[in-house]
């Protein structure tokens, strides 16, 4: 461990609680409840595959019978042992020395999941994973690899959270996505942390010819600080990427979320859409960087922010860089408070001021930007409604 890595690790502990493997239904109730709050469901029949890691222990990993031979889910340590070729995908899109957190994840690596969707398989049920921290002040560093083989399709929902007794910790998550020719991956990550937890996801995706990668991010609970800036390389012809985030910053949260889209293939398309609400003393930075490297490429960035308190802040930083003629890049950003004329309009329909604000806030956190199937979409909508109902 380099001295610098040590400084990032700081006061966090590496001594994790050991968890034996067990089916989801036998998990302690409080753990189960927290997992469910980030979209994980205990009825494994409703998911094509499940991976659950608590602290540094792999507690559960299985593919439902109906999907065996179509998908694979494993912890990354076991996967690397089983498949020599996986080394070709390991630390290829994210560099170990990118920053102190990637260095930390490289030197002190605590599992993570490997998901593989076999060629041509269109998986009808979502796959789920859950990374949970159950020990106070723990450092957890996971490294995930997701490979969608040619013409495959899958929805992955991943929830990251802490045990209700945990208030502080450092979670580093490296994720590398390989979306092969004609494949489609919808990845939805839901975070629910605690006020003293630091979070550093480090993700990148490589998207080949005719492939689509949709990356959704939902963060609704307070966090000490969270910073991520995933990159998608649209290398293939007609490759597509969408980054969508729904952020709700409360308490003293510092959230810095962006996405970088690199358009390299002919006809590649990118989209970065975010909805951010900041209340209390939360600070939210919403970034986006569109880089056009191909003359026939197009991308758009859209950021909407809503401030619910004078102590909060939203800073939208859209960046566009076109390196060749013909790359079409655009952005729109709007940050402000709830418009009074909208509140009055709804009051003129008989809603109280509070009801009107709540309707507007709930509507603002528009889950339809995530492009999810109805069931997942309504689950997330329910989580958002619960958060905003408590907040208002």
């Amino acid at each position: 461990m380099s001295p610098k890595t040590g400084s990032v690790l700081g006061r966090y502990s590496r001594k994790a609680q050991e968890w034996p493997s067990c089916p989801l239904s036998l998990l302690p109730e409080d753990v189960l409840k927290r997992s469910m709050e980030v979209g994980v469901i205990s009825d494994e029949g409703e998911r094509a595959a499940t991976y659950l890691q608590i602290d540094h222990s792999v507690v559960f990993q299985a593919v439902q019978d109906a999907f065996k031979g179509k998908i694979e889910i494993l912890n990354t340590r076991e996967a690397l042992k089983r498949y020599g070729w996986l080394r070709e995908y390991w630390w290829r899109l994210v560099k170990t020395d990118a920053d102190e957190y990637t260095k930390l994840a490289d030197s002190l690596w605590d599992q993570g999941y490997f998901i593989r969707v076999f060629e041509g398989e269109k998986v009808t049920l979502p796959l789920q994973s859950c990374l949970l921290m159950s020990t106070e002040n723990l450092n957890q560093n996971v490294h995930n690899i997701i490979i969608a083989e040619p013409r495959s399709e899958a929805h992955i929902i991943t929830g990251c959270t802490v045990h209700p007794n945990v208030h502080s910790g450092l979670h580093v998550g490296v994720s590398e996505f390989y979306v092969k020719e004609g494949a489609k991956v919808t990845f939805t990550m839901i975070h629910s942390w605690a006020q003293e937890v630091e979070v550093r996801p480090r993700s990148a995706a490589l998207i080949e010819d005719g492939a689509t990668f949709i990356s959704n991010y939902v963060c609704l609970k307070p966090v000490k600080n969270l910073q991520m800036y995933p990159t998608a390389y649209c290398r293939g012809a007609s490759s597509r990427v969408s980054f969508n985030s729904i952020l709700y910053g409360a308490g003293d949260s510092k959230i810095d979320v962006g996405a970088k889209v690199v358009l390299q293939g002919e006809g590649s398309r990118g989209e970065v859409v975010s909805r951010a609400i900041a209340t209390d003393n939360a600070q939210i930075y919403v970034r986006g960087f569109l880089l056009g490297e191909h003359g026939e490429s197009r991308a758009h960035l859209e950021c909407r922010g809503l401030l619910l308190s004078d102590g909060a802040m939203i800073y939208a930083i859209p960046e566009l860089l076109a390196k060749v003629r013909g790359a079409e890049l655009s952005h729109e950003a709007a940050v402000g408070k709830i418009a009074e004329d909208q509140i009055l309009y709804l009051m003129a329909r008989g809603f109280s001021r509070e009801e009107a604000e709540s309707l507007i806030v709930r509507g603002f956190m528009d889950v339809s930007i995530l492009g999810l199937p109805d069931k997942l979409s309504s689950d997330i909508k329910r989580m958002i409604d619960a958060t905003t109902a408590r907040a208002l």
Binding site: R304, A339, E340, D341, Q342, L344, Y345, L346, M347, A348, R349, G350, F351, S352, R353, E355, L359, I360, R362, G363, F364, M365, D366
Partner: protein
């Protein structure tokens, strides 16, 4: 009984007096029209009656169904039975038209049926219910959405702010016919600039608002006839503007 009474009302917005000594009342079951040139204060009077916070009552009172509502919040006035179709409603991103209608419902089943019928009568596709209200709606669609909302509410006093502005002839016919049928026997305050909607709605009385004050009150058809003939310049010549009694229409 009067459903609405406005007494000696003066109103300011951002420190500027925009309405002065307004007096009028609407007996239950009557249709009253508010005429006036652009900027005369028609929409401001409507917003004051609705209790919008930016419209500060300097003096005077507003009574609705016998109850003083001068200081009552907008939503309470609406719950008491006031309904409005706005001229230029704001788009509210993320809030569906159907969601608003659902929130307004008391007896769900009955209102759902009612909404279905009004949609049909207005020739307004049901998929608008799942769209963000007024977002990307055309002029005609906005009017229909407003009229749908106010008719679904079935208010004791229906306020229509220029339901005929920015609407093409075909849609005006549709809207006019629906309003005429649905508002029969109801109390209505109707704001119109050009009076087209009066081809469909029989009005009992009209008031002309000039520069923030009621310059003239009288038969709706007679006043409309004069306005169409001479424009609002006729009202400028009106003796009431100079503080004298108008002998023509009272």
């Amino acid at each position: 009984m009067d459903i609405l009474t406005v007494e000696d009302l003066s109103v300011e917005v951002s420190g500027r007096t925009i309405l002065r000594d307004i007096n009028f009342s609407i007996p239950e079951g009557e249709v009253h029209v508010l005429f006036g040139p652009n900027g005369s204060g028609k929409s401001s009077l409507i917003k004051t009656i609705l209790g919008f916070p930016g419209y500060k009552v300097l003096s005077g009172s507003i009574f609705f169904k016998g109850k003083e509502i001068t200081d009552m919040p907008t939503d309470e006035r609406v719950k008491l039975g006031m309904g409005v179709a706005f001229q230029n409603p704001p788009a509210v991103r993320g809030v569906k038209l159907g969601e608003i209608l659902k929130g307004m419902m008391r007896n769900r089943e009955e209102v759902e049926k009612r909404i279905g019928n009004i949609l049909k009568e207005l020739n307004f596709p049901t998929d608008f219910l799942t769209r963000d209200v007024n977002l990307g709606f055309s002029g005609g669609e906005t009017k229909k959405s407003e009229i749908l909302q106010v008719l679904a509410q079935d208010a004791d006093l229906t306020i229509l702010d220029e339901p005929d502005s920015g609407v093409d002839v075909e849609n005006l016919q549709v809207i006019g016919a629906v309003l005429s049928r649905r508002l029969k026997g109801k109390s209505v305050l109707l704001v119109t600039h050009l009076g087209y909607i009066l081809r469909y709605i029989d009005a009992d009385m009209a008031h002309v608002l000039m520069d923030g004050t009621i310059a003239c009150s009288g038969s709706a058809l007679k006043i409309l006839g004069q306005i169409l003939k001479e424009g609002y310049s006729w009202c400028e010549k009106c003796p009431r503007v100079k503080g004298l009694r108008c002998e023509v229409f009272l």
